[in-house]
């Protein structure tokens, strides 16, 4: 298989405009003859479904939640980047492109990232026109802030609820098309298989989560906007329902899965409090603008603190180690996410962690409160402080917050070309579901940008190009390919329901999460990864022998829903480990302990690993086949990321 990224010829800055001119167009009168399926209604899915409906295609949109407005994009707090340069502080499309490529540790495609930076400016215009209430200055113009270590203020925000407001904007555009009859919405419906006819994606098989009915839907193209796979780790900042099933089942039908080991561990989350913990809560990265990260200087002081022999206030200033400020004087507490997370782990590994478990570091606002006063800090972070207090029952104005890294975002995903089409003709992947724009590490406020860029401004052009080259003839769901896929889905559900073993789905999921976190989390090594591979295989076999799923298919069955998702996580987890094993370098969120500088920084190997690892499925338990897409850098110079 040859991976063709289909990157247009020509200078970087002209590629997208040229491509838009070169793509084939569908005659306005013919658009209504084409059906498009969009799975997922977060930023990437809702924006795509709405825009394709506006253009005149017949769209069917699916989500597993009770309403499209609930998709997990809604939980994004910090903001959305755009190269508007409204602040006159030196931002530009090229700078946003450069920061994103560098932040991704040179493992993303130049052409895709440049396009992302280009359309970023259109996104803000679009959202404002929809009535999204971004933060504003007294003069009535839009406010910006610097975010995630960026040297310019290019982040647009809506208090700590930017994702919510952007999603409600996309949801409103989607609703308008639903009202017009151009989009048919299927909530509480989960995709369980992709259907291919003559080598092309022609539909999906879904389960109605209320009635359990297995149904097929056919179309001329299928867009997967189903988010990331962070819940492989059981504990993550993802929503409880976030899952990889749609993407994974497409992978099993032939779609390549790219860079699965690139996962982002976010540094500022509320630490785990007990075995019953169901999810982790992120505290916006903006807190690092004013909070200082520290641990006790010595293991001995940390131990006494953990045992409750001393209080935080007993620790003298000279006994506190503000380790990010010490190690990275230029960026201090604002180093990128991967660097901040890894250092928190290092401190805790040394035995200097805080909290009863020793798996936390302090994020301290005492200096900021002294400098600016409590009201000023409350105005900036009030809702976050409140959230922290609600969960931990501690007052962060009086005591430093305790934070620890948690799985947050997955940069890997389905392999797509420049058109966001997978290697299966007619199957597209957008937003977090694809791998394309963030390389080995995503910068803050870039996920919302990518989701909306793909849905509003990329897919509407590129899908037209594909449809224009394909006949309008429809495939009906009576086609044997649909019947076969339905039967396979039914057989799998029946199998899960008939095992009647002794362990619950959550029990398996938690064990998988522990394996992934311990061996394929913030730091990995070959020995541990080999071990994890064996453990996951064993666990998967046990799952299919001993899982307990009660009830029947023909009802609202929360255990069956979860069992399907965890069955897929148990396969995907192994691929993540496999991918981490083959990448004998450290880059971004992928830190292999064998490959580090004497100062414990990530040691990239551009000579041998400047490629996208795209994996082909060859059967459960079989070794997957690796396909490499070489990354060419013509516009940036590859340098060692340094935040000293």
């Amino acid at each position: 298989m040859i991976l063709d990224s289909k990157i247009p010829e020509g200078p970087l800055a002209e590629k997208w405009d040229k491509h838009k001119f070169n793509v084939k167009l569908v005659n306005p009168a013919n658009k209504r003859k084409y059906d498009v399926i969009v799975v997922g209604t977060g930023l990437a899915g809702a924006s795509a479904a709405a825009t394709l409906g506006e253009l005149g295609y017949n769209v069917k949109a699916f989500c597993f939640q009770d309403s499209p407005r609930r998709a997990h994009s809604i939980a994004a707090q910090g903001g959305i980047n755009a190269a508007k340069n409204y602040q006159n502080d030196g931002d530009s499309i090229f700078r946003l492109f450069y920061d994103t490529i560098k932040g991704g540790d040179y493992r993303a495609r130049e052409a895709n990232v440049y396009r992302l930076a280009q359309v970023s400016v259109n996104i803000i215009d679009q959202c404002v026109a929809q009535g999204v209430p971004f933060a504003r200055e007294y003069g009535g113009l839009l406010a910006n802030r610097s975010f995630g270590g960026a040297q310019v203020s290019r982040t647009f925000y809506a208090r700590g609820q930017t994702g919510q407001q952007l999603l409600l904007g996309a949801y409103s555009a989607l609703n308008r098309q639903i009202a017009y009859g151009k989009v048919k919405m299927y909530p509480r419906t989960e995709m369980l298989d992709l259907v291919m006819v003559d080598g092309k994606a022609r539909g999906i098989v879904v389960r109605n989560l209320i009635t359990g009915k297995i149904e097929s839907h056919s179309a001329h193209a299928v867009v997967l906007a189903t988010g990331g796979y962070g819940n492989v780790f059981f504990l993550s900042t993802n929503a409880m329902g976030s899952n990889a099933t749609a993407a994974w089942r497409a992978h099993k039908k032939g779609a390549l899965f790219a860079n699965p080991c690139f996962t982002q561990i976010h540094p500022t989350c509320i630490p785990v409090s007990g075995e019953y913990q169901s999810k982790l809560t992120l505290m916006s990265e903006s807190l690092r603008n004013d909070g200082r990260v520290w641990v006790p200087k010595t293991v001995e002081i940390a131990q006494r603190l953990r045992k409750g022999e001393i209080r935080v206030s007993d620790i003298k200033e000279e006994d506190r180690d503000y380790y990010l400020e010490r190690k990275y004087p230029a960026f201090g507490n604002l180093v990128p996410r991967d660097v901040a997370s890894r250092n928190a782990k290092l401190m805790c590994d040394e035995g200097r962690g805080v909290g009863a478990s020793g798996l936390a570091v302090f994020l301290d606002f005492a200096d900021a409160i002294k400098r600016e006063g409590q009201p000023a800090i409350a105005a900036k972070y009030g809702n976050l402080f409140e959230m922290y207090q609600k969960i931990t029952d501690e007052n962060p104005y009086e005591n430093p917050m305790r934070i620890y890294p948690a799985v947050h975002y997955t940069m890997g995903g389905l392999w797509v070309d420049y058109n966001l089409m997978t290697n299966i003709p007619g199957l597209y992947a957008t937003g977090e579901c694809n791998f394309s724009d963030h390389g080995a590490n995503r910068l803050g406020a870039s996920a919302l940008m990518q989701g909306l860029a793909d849905g509003y401004f990329v897919i509407p052009y590129t899908i037209g190009d594909y449809l224009a080259q394909n006949p309008t003839a429809k495939v009906t769901t009576d086609h044997p390919a649909f019947k076969e896929a339905e039967q396979a889905v039914i057989a799998k559900n029946n199998q899960l329901l008939s095992i009647n073993g002794s362990r619950t789905v959550d029990d398996f999921h938690k064990q998988l999460g522990h394996i992934m976190w311990d061996y394929c989390g913030m730091a990995r090594n070959a020995e541990g990864l080999q071990f994890a591979k064996g453990e996951i295989r064993k666990l998967r076999e046990e799952f299919w022998r001993d899982v307990k799923v009660v009830g029947v298919n023909e009802e609202l069955n929360i255990t069956l829903e979860k069992a399907n998702r965890v069955a897929d996580f148990l396969e995907l987890g192994e691929l993540m480990v496999e991918d981490a094993l083959q990448r004998n370098e450290s880059c971004g969120g992928h830190f292999r302990e064998e490959y580090q500088t004497p100062e414990n920084e990530a040691l990239r190997d551009d000579e041998n690993y400047a490629y996208v690892a795209a994996w082909e499925f060859t059967g459960v338990g079989n070794e997957p086949v690796l396909h490499k897409e070489e990354l060419k850098f013509e516009n940036v110079k590859l340098t060692q990321r340094s935040y000293k």
């Binding site: 309403s67 919510q164 409880m240 630490p271 478990s357 509003y456 609202l556």
Partner: protein, 261 residues
């Protein structure tokens, strides 16, 4: 560990939970004892623990809606001890922690009760009526592309902030559950007033309020009798003022309506 009170003792509780097989069948309250509940658990984690026990015993776990568990998606929806989202003000069920209960407590858990929110199963209700109200007009009619530069539409900070306050509605339905008439006025008014305040939304303000109110009536929500229970129970603090704004918008729209109905 995360809580400030590591010595807090685990609690034993009695839960009375609404169980209903599906939309058609009759439901009833079923009593479940739960033991060893940590005060640091969230309310939903407490239910997770119960569900794991039920599953191990081969019983059907309790179905309830939940997703983000961060208080923002609006999916969780329990009626706890007679109050939507439970006893804490300004808190969704997923952000409610067990430290607000005491050892030995009996806790009743029911679904949202409203004719317009039929029960799917146990504590899961159908809130699609809310989506249909939004589809009736909760948007600005702009297509993707062809819009002016974002800063070409200046909006005064105080108005932008006020519109934002209305826009924070998470669509959970607690307002309906809290209302003795099961009225959806707070929910509908939040969107109507957000859009009416902003210049982008003003163009269609009249038809929007007419259509959204009409759809609200079609869905079978009750009338507003100004008790204010909705705002008192709203987890994100949507203000009653929005209802006043919507009433004003509705009256002025009707007075000059292009719709004859």
């Amino acid at each position: 560990m995360a809580g400030s009170n590591p010595n807090a003792k685990p609690m034993d509780l009695t839960l009375k939970v609404w169980r209903q097989k599906n939309r058609e069948s009759a439901g009833s309250m079923v009593t479940y004892p739960v033991k060893g509940i940590s005060p640091d658990m969230s309310f939903l984690e407490m239910l997770d623990v119960l569900n794991e026990d039920l599953l191990r015993g081969g019983q059907d776990p309790i179905a309830f809606d939940h997703d983000c568990r961060e208080g923002i998606c609006g999916m969780c929806s329990l009626y706890i001890n007679g109050r939507p989202h439970g006893p804490e003000r300004g808190t969704t069920t997923c952000q409610l922690h067990m430290r607000h209960f005491n050892d030995g407590d009996t806790i009743t858990i029911e679904p949202w009760r409203a004719a317009a929110f039929p029960v799917h199963k146990d504590l899961v209700v159908d809130r699609s009526a809310f989506d249909r109200i939004q589809q009736a007009g909760g948007y600005v009619s702009v297509n993707t592309g062809g819009v002016p530069d974002a800063n070409a539409i200046p909006i005064g900070k105080s108005i932008a902030d006020k519109a934002f306050d209305a826009a924070t509605c998470i669509g959970c339905g607690a307002c309906v559950a809290a209302c003795k008439n099961a009225s959806a006025m707070l929910f509908v008014s939040a969107k109507v007033s957000q859009m009416a305040m902003l210049p982008q939304g003003k163009v269609e303000a009249k038809t929007r309020v007419e259509n959204m109110v009409a759809q609200m009536d079609v869905e079978g929500f009750g009338a507003c009798s100004n008790t204010g229970a909705c705002a008192a129970e709203c987890p994100v603090g949507i203000s009653l003022e929005n209802i006043a704004i919507m009433n004003r918008e509705y009256l002025s729209a009707k007075a000059t309506s292009e719709h004859v109905a």
